[in-house]
Symmetry: C2
Subunit: 401 residues, 2 copies
Amino acid sequence: MQFIDGGVTAQQGYFATGVACGIKKNGEKDLAIVCSEDVAATAGVFTTNQVKGHSLKLTMQRVRNNGYANALIVNSGNANACVGDKGDMDAREIASKAAELLDCSPDEVLVASTGVIGVPLELDKVLKGVEEAIGNMTPDGGHDAELAIMTTDTVPKEVAVEIELKGERVVIGGMAKGSGMIHPNMATMIVVLTTDANISNKLLDKALREACATTFNRVTIDGEMSVCDMALIFANGLADNAGIVNEDADYRLFCETLEKVCLFLTKKIAADGEGATKLIEVQVNGAKSAEDAYKVCSSIARSPLVKTMINGCDANWGRIITAVGYSGADTDPNRIDIFLNRIRVCRSGAAAIYDEDKVREQLAKDEVIISVQLNYGDHSDRMWTCDLSEEYIHINGSYRS
Amino acid sequence: MQFIDGGVTAQQGYFATGVACGIKKNGEKDLAIVCSEDVAATAGVFTTNQVKGHSLKLTMQRVRNNGYANALIVNSGNANACVGDKGDMDAREIASKAAELLDCSPDEVLVASTGVIGVPLELDKVLKGVEEAIGNMTPDGGHDAELAIMTTDTVPKEVAVEIELKGERVVIGGMAKGSGMIHPNMATMIVVLTTDANISNKLLDKALREACATTFNRVTIDGEMSVCDMALIFANGLADNAGIVNEDADYRLFCETLEKVCLFLTKKIAADGEGATKLIEVQVNGAKSAEDAYKVCSSIARSPLVKTMINGCDANWGRIITAVGYSGADTDPNRIDIFLNRIRVCRSGAAAIYDEDKVREQLAKDEVIISVQLNYGDHSDRMWTCDLSEEYIHINGSYRS
């Protein structure tokens, strides 16, 4: 597997672009299209929030009913959520407009929206944007599409890798937006993956679900779960690989690669969490059950006290063991060891002997690994998050203004 | 029922004071004693964190085994938690020293500690402090005791009320410290309640549990649960009321009053949450079950996006409905109404027509009530929290420094 340049248009057969249609007040790009030359096998993972955005609901339905699609329209700046029947109609209208221009069935166009909740879309603007985007999309427009789906993101998040499946080159590309309202089981924020692999949509779905479980469902920024989150994958089969229809070696390589692509984007999302100054990886080993390992990971990763402590480069490990204690997992506090970037700060539930300055130096790095050894079983898990800074409050105190 | 001046020494038969024994680096008071003239019936509610501080473990054991106690020593600035066997020995040593000076059994002295985790106590300093405190305690030293248990609190939290039980005056007083690591089921931070009521310790225990359920177990500052949290009550029986030994009218009035005392302290704790600029009350009505009502309350009250939005006076109600959606409660998003200080901002799951300026004016007040009508059943709950400000990060990024 090799990383290559590009994102969703890194491979053959995809067109994309991003335009500014006027949803974002500052005139930045706010509407993206990703379009496959041929109809593509499609799979998706969607938020588990009971409240669901209108665009998301339509896409969820179409992905589940059809398993194939041609294009995806994403707008940022407005979630198209909680606006009543108009929201459902708008979503269908956007898809229909695109379908008309692309000469395909409306069912084959998917829609995603992200931004403020409860404000109706200005449909005219969006439809004009769709027209402009379709008129301008190119085989190397992936980056522009990524720019158009960003909200409070500070850096674009794109990735592409190539692998060989029985001698044939296959590419998987992807793009993502964060960067607040991030927590497991919402399939993170909007992620779009494309591949030219030839793979059945059933296996594509399985591969996506498995990859999400250990990546996008293991990132938390603030414990929030948006109503618009989804991860979508398109596979247009234009590569010359023999079709993947069984869980054979090709399938396994495809899955491994997809997981790496998702992991890359996951870390990008965590590192660019709202107000983040660093990426935090939480590793938990020695749990009694897989569920307990997850509980401990999640409890630490969402603890504001742990996150502010990392922000302040303060080795206050008492907050980490406190989060273990209230996680709901079955543990023995007297067996717990805690490491910060490999330096042991807690041994058997009490302070270890360590050099404060050296730990402080480690905590000042861009990436901090919190490793907790429960010594109580043989299950592990890991999760990604970021530190919590004053900037998070600043961003979110006046998001709509 | 009438509010009167004072706190834990507002009634007869209690002595208290607070001294500076050198645990806090800044020379502020850090050791408190609350002592009953006679042995008092005692009850307590303790953190459910699996990790428990050494002082808390001793007190929990003594309250459960005995049901009677004479005095309580509380130190702030150090949690006496996660320091190994020395922590257990220190807790016992502190109680023994106090017992010796008070001429009572060590079993009748309780201990509480709050502050940094994982750092051993300097026992010599603490024992000297115990001596000084016992030498200086007075029948009106409640306020000094309160000052000595504060950590990041910015205001003292004291309350006292008087009631009549069959013509006899009975007083209940209390003090509390917050103000971070606050979340339900840890019985909040340290709360000490005193009364001169004559009541059996079995009913005292029941009354305390019931009062905590709707007050201290309904406040969240940051979703954290400390390892040292407890609420203790002492009843020394010096009032002339006929002993409360049945669940009669006197008992019910005692319970009602105790709940009001606890509610007063609960609101004080929430309003003084770390970095807080205002008190938030979350009210949920129309839930399908009591559990669902709690889930929705809790989900909203701990949402950093809701809390930052209130901090920024931004009526971004989409974040509230989002938190309802991921709460895990069974709801129908299309039936949800949301009110901010009585102004309806969301009707049937979509934007209501309201005046942005008027809502902003309401959100700028010291108290904001978020009321969610689920219209899906007849269960209610309420919870208190505070807004999330940049100051929270500032306080917690460098807590130990």
